[in-house]
Amino acid sequence: MAKGLKKLSWLQAYASVYMVFLYAPVVLLPIFAFNDSTVIAFPLSGFTTDWFASLRDNAALKSAVSNSLIVAVTTAMISTILGAFAARAGVRYRFPAKRGIMGLILLPLVLPEIIIAVALLVMLMRLGLSLSLWTVIVGHVLVCVPFSIAVLNSAFSGLDQSLEEASFDLGETAWGTFRRVTFPLILPGVISSLLITFTISLDEFIIAFFLTGTDVTLPVYIWSQLRFPAKLPGVMALGTLLLLLTISLLVIAEFFRRRTAQRRGLDASTTEGLI
């Protein structure tokens, strides 16, 4: 396999097989969600939408969904705000112990989630605090902040400093400058960060499993259902809905991320319409 076409086609064939491997489980999810059988196996027996219908009057599921939404929305907002502070400081300023400080903030990226979960659990036990949705949020924010920083870093590094300086020169206050100049310019990055952290929190299981109290989140609910074979088709239907939700959120996030990237190319005059 020396050169040219033949080598290219080998690599291409390999990449295609690899993509099949990546998508195999994802493709199966909707197939079994619509399959008219309680057994999750081939051959398929027929088409049904019963499993989706069965989700509608499931009280435990409904409460898990609303718990997860509360956790994910709160996590997204807190981690995007904390991420914005850190990203702005990291991009704009040099300050003492910067590497150490940023290193600690980004540490959850390379820390197994079970360690974070166990550490927080031990601290809550020592403080005598009981587990609730808030304890899950605390853990999720730790994991989400690094992702928020990654997204917002590019938004802030694309920001033209002279625009803010111009605003100061024209007599705007720091808050006014932030509200009327900085924020509109980084808005696509902020939205993208909100969506990504929301998605991460919505799917996070290990931390939620350790830190959840009596109010369970959606992944913890799914975990409890996996033990009962009869519940599985309903779980497949639920998974399919989640799949649609996350994919649409990610497409939207990607759209905003690209707009951030595009804005870097714009000169000062074109931002007038945005302010």
Binding site: A15, L120, V138
Partner: protein, 289 residues
């Protein structure tokens, strides 16, 4: 508006302080507490805070824990090797062969990662099971006469499932490293008479080492901490140390021992990561010379 260095430093610190405070209070403090905790003992609900090495002694000498620890390490290293080796050609393909739609490829590679992790692991169980998709397909095609049994509830299943779960984390760093390679270096190697294979091993691979190293560490570290995959597809021979940590914090109600196990596994993984880091730097330098 010139800012002198001291003023700049103060502003930067002020700006980073909310996030930093959060990390100190809710990350650094709990981690330190876990380490302290691992030197304490617990008897049902009573916590004895006299420092002792008993938990570590148990964690390191009990044959069960030792076996689980070694197995976790073995499985994680195996998973990492398989994941990185299978991911490299894909990263190479997207970086060097795909010309027009790189962003689309990257999106397609990362998209499956965003579907529920629990469900992905569970679906591998469906694929690899006795009556699973894989066996059904092979039976139907007449390749085998009866279902293969060596693919579920063992280490193989754990490796396949985790290689799938961490694929994007392995592909992306390697891709980034490959993208950074100055293409004129490759032309130079060719002009100087290197064939494609020699050129790959003497130019491309050494320059891609930082990406490969990042991929290795990104996959290795969290893999040791996973307990869902071993629980769902690993059977008894695929159980790992994290499952034991979870049991100690849950049913066994011996949090200090769980903490000692967690701290021990973190140190082992940390040490291994450091070794890999140092080794890859050496390889990179030697090959780059």
């Amino acid at each position: 508006m010139p800012i002198d260095a001291q003023n700049e430093g103060r502003k930067g610190l002020l700006l980073v302080s909310p996030t930093f405070a959060y990390a100190i209070l809710l990350l650094a403090a709990p981690l330190i507490l876990v380490i302290l905790f691992s030197f304490w003992t617990q008897d049902y609900l009573d916590l004895d805070t006299t420092p002792t090495l008993a938990n570590y002694k148990e964690a390191w000498t009990d044959p069960l824990y030792r076996e689980l620890m070694l197995r976790s390490l073995r499985i994680s290293v195996l998973v990492t090797t398989v994941t990185v080796l299978t991911a490299f050609p894909v990263a190479y393909y997207v970086s060097f062969r795909v010309k027009e739609r790189k962003a689309l490829w990257l999106f397609l590679i990362t998209a499956p990662f965003w579907t529920s992790y629990l469900l992905r692991v569970f679906l591998w169980k469906v694929i690899l099971g006795y009556n699973g998709v894989f066996n059904s397909a092979l039976l139907w095609a007449g390749i085998i006469d009866e279902p293969l049994q060596f693919i579920l509830y063992n280490v193989n299943a754990v490796v396949i499932t985790l290689a799938h779960a961490w694929a994007p984390f392995a592909i992306l760093p390697i891709f980034v490293a490959l993208e950074k390679i100055d293409r004129s270096l490759l032309e130079a190697a060719e002009d100087l008479g290197d064939g494609p294979v020699r050129r790959f091993f003497r130019v491309t691979l050494p320059l891609a080492i930082p990406g490969v190293m990042a991929a290795t560490l990104i996959v290795l570290i969290p893999t040791v901490g996973d307990f869902i995959t071993p629980r769902l597809v690993g059977g008894t021979e695929g159980l790992m140390i994290s499952n034991m940590i979870q049991v100690q914090f849950g049913k066994a109600n011996n949090a200090p021992l769980g903490a000692a196990l967690a701290v021990s596994s973190m140190f082992i993984v940390g040490g291994l990561s450091l070794l890999i880091f140092l080794a890859s730097r050496r390889v990179g330098r030697v090959a780059g010379d």
